[in-house]
């Protein structure tokens, strides 16, 4: 049975059997006052029981951040963000959610219905109070946690919240944290480094193939880890891991700004596959509300023949600013980026990748599918850089855009820099719309207009969707159809 389904079942059965302990969990009501100062950082660090080196590291990031300006090069427009008007430390569940499903926005429930999400799950996603705590408690409960932990521990895999890793595996964290995304890499990564509150830590020992797909979905306290998540994944020599991030149903999240940092490190012959389905709240049809998603994701193929593969399906967030990248340092290393970015209504997405070829015979593949509908703007922005040492490097890039309706925009901004004559770089981009012939064909066979669009869009994205782990792929397909609602006809 697929791991996700298994978990769901476990959760469901626990809920059915009247697992009530969760209600007694003391809710941590800690909220730092608004604003960002060294005191805020000290408070976060103290709450997390961090060692002095990490506090210093945060201070260094904060000092760098204060000298930086918010980047303006992306094709996104938003009202200025007041960084002093944010709570940088708020313990989970501080806000009271709706008391029962009856109080939840019916539009949201209808969406869950279409995605085929179980009732219990819907309550969790909608943030219904009791359900939330109960399920968190279930996840927190020793039994469930230990099931996974025991399996993982047997093979030597470390998978825990990063705050715990700082305490339990300080040497590993210290050795790798910030080595792929340095603290002062960019404005949002510096901010994240200063104030990150939690995230995942994964270490796969040499030669180990991780026995299950790891997911934030499983992870204790994975939800509402806040706006500033920090993920660090290390695959030691010959290790392999597949990591899933995100959720496939829209989450009501009051946070406006998300600035996460994800660092991946692959040593010799290691393989990391990182899959994301991002469906944060996109705001309403008029563009009110929604998440600003400013994320720095980067993988370092440090070892020879290592491989890092990013797959993303981005349908949510009011603003997406995200460029999962690969630094191909090891000879013969491979980077891959498969992306579907869909925007509807007033959404804005500026996303793509960077493939930095440093080592010899490095290879990279980029497949990007952008779909714009409504009044949205969708930009692919990517860099392929071939360094002077990267003899025999290869890149192939395919960027396709699909426009649905005449009020949206689709843009492609690739940068290609080559400094090695034996390298070969190929880039192709196309822009098109759903043709009348395709629609006619589907409609003539009895499909409704929306189903026909859904089918055609899924076909357009097929190359990317097939890279997703199976459970994700099925839900991602439904998600694409749901996200397109109201964009045709």
């Amino acid at each position: 049975m697929p791991a996700v389904a298994e978990t769901l079942e476990t959760v469901e059965s626990l809920a059915r059997s009247g697992y009530k302990f969760g209600f007694e969990t003391t809710i941590d009501m800690d909220v730092a006052p608004k604003g960002l100062t060294e005191d805020t950082i000290r408070l976060i660090s103290a709450r997390k029981g961090e060692p002095a080196w990490l506090l210093d590291w945060r201070f260094a990031a904060f000092a760098a951040w204060r000298k930086m300006e918010e980047p303006r090069w992306a094709r996104v427009h938003h009202t200025p963000i007041d960084y002093q008007d944010i709570h940088y430390y708020a313990a989970p569940k501080a806000k009271a959610g709706p008391a029962s499903l009856d109080e939840v926005d019916p539009e949201l429930l209808a969406t869950y219905e279409k995605l085929g999400i179980p009732l219990k799950e819907r309550a969790i996603l909608a943030g219904v109070q009791g359900a939330n705590v109960a399920v968190d408690a279930v996840f927190d409960s020793v039994s469930v946690a230990t099931t996974f932990r025991a399996t993982l521990a047997k093979s030597g895999v470390i998978f825990c919240p990063i705050s715990e890793a700082v305490r339990e595996h300080p040497d590993l964290v210290r050795q790798y944290l910030g080595t792929v995304v340095p603290v002062a890499d960019n404005f949002f990564s510096a901010l994240n480094s200063a104030v990150f509150t939690d995230g995942s830590f994964v270490y796969i020992p040499p030669g180990v193939r991780c026995p299950m797909e790891l997911s934030t979905y499983f992870r204790i306290n994975a939800r509402n880890t806040g706006q500033f998540e920090r993920t660090l994944i290390i695959a030691d020599a010959g290790a392999q891991v597949s990591y899933l991030e995100g959720c496939t149903a829209p989450q009501r999240d009051e946070n406006q700004l998300h600035a996460a940092v994800v660092e991946l490190i692959a040593l010799d012959d290691a393989k990391i596959k990182y899959s994301t389905v991002q469906n944060w709240y996109p705001g309403d049809a008029e563009g009110r509300g929604g998440i600003y998603n400013f994320v720095t994701k980067r993988g370092l193929c440090r070892g020879a023949r290592s491989r890092i593969s990013w797959t993303q399906v981005e349908t949510g967030s009011a603003i997406t600013w995200k460029y999962p990248s690969c630094v191909l340092e090891g000879d013969g290393s491979v980077g891959e980026f498969y992306s579907v970015a869909m925007t509807n209504h007033m959404q804005q997405a500026d996303t793509g990748t960077k493939m930095i070829h440093i080592g010899r015979d490095t290879r990279s593949t980029i497949v990007s599918k952008g779909i714009s509908a409504g009044k949205s703007d969708n930009t692919y922005r990517g860099l392929v850089r071939i360094g002077p040492r990267a003899s025999g490097a290869r890149n192939h890039t395919q960027c396709d855009s699909l426009l649905i309706g005449d009020r949206c925009g689709a843009h492609t901004v690739p940068y290609i820099e080559s400094r090695n004559p034996s390298a070969k770089v190929e880039h192709e981009a196309t822009t098109s719309k759903i043709s009348e012939d395709q629609m006619f064909y589907c409609r003539a066979r009895g499909l409704s207009q929306e189903d026909a669009v859904g089918l055609i869009v899924n076909g357009f994205c097929k190359e990317v969707l097939k890279e997703l782990p199976m459970e994700f792929a099925v839900e991602a397909q439904k998600l694409l159809a749901v996200s397109l609602e109201g964009s045709v006809g």
Partner: protein, 420 residues
Amino acid sequence: MTVPMSRGEAGFLGRFEAERASLPGAPGPRAAAAEAFRALGLPGASSGRRAEAWKYTSLRALAEAGFAGSLSVAETDMAMVPRLAATRLVFVDGRFRADLSDPAPGIFGSARAPEFGPLAQPARDPLVALNTMLAEDGAAIEVADGDDAGVVQIAHLASAAAGQAIACHPRHLIRLGAGARLVLLETMSGTGRYLHNPVSEILLGPDAALSHLRLQEEADDAFHLATLYAELAARARYEAFTLNLGARLARTEIHARLAGPDGFVALNAAQLLGGAQHADMTTVVRHDAPRGASRQTVRSVLSGRARGVFQGRIEVARGAQKTDGYQRSQALLLSDAAEIDTKPELEIFADDVKCSHGATVGALDPEQLFYLRSRGVPEAPARAMLVRAFLDESLDAVTHKAARAALDAAIARAWEREAA
């Protein structure tokens, strides 16, 4: 934030202050351009002068150099100017030379005041601001409705004497009336150390057709920074081909706007660079009306430590439905130290369009080389043959025979110089 002035920037502004009273034409646009230049400066001149449009080309070397007035004391060597058409306008150091030219009705070398047309954007483009501030002369070509003006050559010759550095900023205005036709051949060459900073504004009436061939063979020590604006009315055709061979630093920036429906734009180019040359081809094609088509093929061959840049953007405005845009850039790197930077961009706001671009970078195909070698062709000629074949594919867009022959000869000269 004020950015400290570089020597070059201060020099240009100083020259404007000294000469503003004697510069021809209305002073208003020049004063405004000077303000714009003061604010924009030369891209890359200092850390405060960075701009996305100039990501791959820095004018620091230009900013650090100093340029005197525009008049050279050197002898004019007309042998450097090929004669390609009966009607020929010759500019020496940016000034029209009636004594060397053969004008025709409507085709002026214009020793009058330079004409500032409606297309140039000095407030946005720093080199256009520089040109507007200091322009002294330029061609004025007007082809009346329905006329076919045949072939016209504009020859630019710069001749800086040893130890001298001159700057010239010619300003050209080309207007074709409804249904008018013209083949325009521009040749650019020179000796010594100089800056050639021309701005051309091209206005094409309905159904007008302009074929524009540009052969850039500036001196080894020259800066060539050309900006062209073209605007097309309904059904007009603008077909440009640029061959970049010379200059230590060259940038050709073309803005073409299809303002009326059913227009056609081709912006093709080839670059053959070696040594420490840097050549930048930057184009923006804007589709503002329905059913327009644009085509672009840019081929670069780079050896030595040469650096080639291609930035091409296709913009499709809302309402420009049925636009068909295609762009292809290909580069051959022949040496370890050569570099190519490519940025093909699509910016699309209409849904019923067909737009695509492709970019490739690589070396000479070893199999093709092997094929020729196995048939007894020695290494060097085999390589030359493949490079020529690569460039020829882009040159095939040039159908004017004399022009094609001139371009072929120029490539042969450049390749020989490269091989030597």
